[in-house]
Amino acid sequence: MSQRDPQIDSELSERLRAIDVRAPQELHERIESLVAERAAARRRPAGWRLQIGGAVALAAIVAGLLISLLGGGAASKLTMRETVALTQRPATASAPSENARNGTELAVAVDGVPFPYWDERFGWRSTGSRTDGLDGRQVTTVFYVNRDGQRIGYAIVAGKPAPTIKGGVIEWRSGTPYRLQHAWGNEVVSWQRSGHLCVIAGHGVNPSALLALASWQGHETLSA
């Protein structure tokens, strides 16, 4: 073994310790928001916290029963199940066109959050859209179809704050957490864009492909 060189040790250590690069401001803000979110969660009553999983499951069952009883669920609750269900319903409006000023997004947006234009880059073209109300919030869904005939729905929930989502597996892309779930027969990816809940869901679609679509930031970059 070669001899230890104290000069190498100290020079390198000094150089490394002298680095004072700060983390990006956005990262600081995200961590502070995580801390605040956690603190708020801890302030909730313990019983509420313990039973949250069961309550969510029960709410989903009750919502399902109500929907079937009411025949269509005109006054549906804003749940993940309902949001995903919207992405599987038929379109009620024609396909939104490409934004003339920004070729990476469509000419339709929710509170300023635009839907992406994926046709050229990914081969997913928009085929239609619909707008529904869930719990007093407007949910706009754009439907896309690829060359293999697979169909996905991209829903953006209007209003802030975005509803909190639990469960699934979290994948990080460029500092944004994307929640992947296999639920109600669909592959589902949910995340937030500018504080708005976004959900993409499709049946039989590769989750990696859904994640790549969801995390594509071409339209964000250009419109920023």
Partner: protein
């Protein structure tokens, strides 16, 4: 208690337990970011790693021994980093993932010359083997003591010392041209002084 203290020495006494205060965590973001950058070799991955680390730490109340928050964060950072690497190696690579590449942050630091040096240093560290990299990051980037670093990385202090020495040596070798340049100029200065003095005597 006094008997235990005598038997194991003063340092062996267990430190008091306390619950980690989440509000104290944001103060460590910068240091952890630097450590993550050196581990990953890229700023974007470092951001993700730091956020995932904090997310894990905050997922439930944590009980710490003593005041060593940074040591604890390093341990979670290491675990998150290793888990992420294993997951990534198992994940099938799809062509679509290429689309995730995001343009580099145009202003990582306020001093461009330092940014280049940092980029180069951290990229060199990121090329080391995992064990060497973690040792170097824990001690030289995060600033943990050898003892804390050894605990955080779950290795013996002697092992950590060896890894650290080898890691520094490898990094120094990678950066050899500029390091050697500095050292050569120092040597030349010393030798020149010696020759003059000899000449004077003769």
């Amino acid at each position: 208690m006094a008997t235990r203290a005598r038997a194991y020495g003063r340092d062996a006494l267990p430190k008091p337990m306390r619950t980690l205060d989440p509000q104290s965590l944001p103060q460590h973001v910068d240091r952890l970011y630097r450590a993550a950058w050196a581990l990953c070799g890229s700023r974007e991955d470092a951001e993700d790693l730091v956020q995932e680390t904090f997310s894990r730490v905050l997922s439930k109340p944590r009980v710490l021994q003593g005041d060593d928050e940074l040591y604890y964060l390093m341990r979670v950072l290491r675990n998150t980093f290793l888990t992420g690497r294993r997951t990534a190696s198992r994940r099938p690579v799809t062509a679509a993932v290429l689309e995730d590449v995001v343009a580099a942050d145009p202003k990582p630091t306020s001093r461009p010359e330092q940014a280049i040096e940092v980029q180069e240093l951290y990229a060199t560290i990121a090329q080391l083997s995992e064990d060497f990299r973690l040792a170097l990051v824990a001690v030289d980037v995060l600033g943990l003591s050898y003892r804390e670093a050894a605990r955080a990385l779950r290795v013996r202090e002697a092992t950590l010392t060896t890894r650290l020495f080898r890691a520094r040596k490898q990094v120094a070798a990678q950066l050899a041209p500029e390091v050697e340049q500095v050292r050569e100029s120092t040597r030349e200065g010393k030798t020149a002084g010696g020759v003059l003095s000899t000449g004077g005597t003769a």
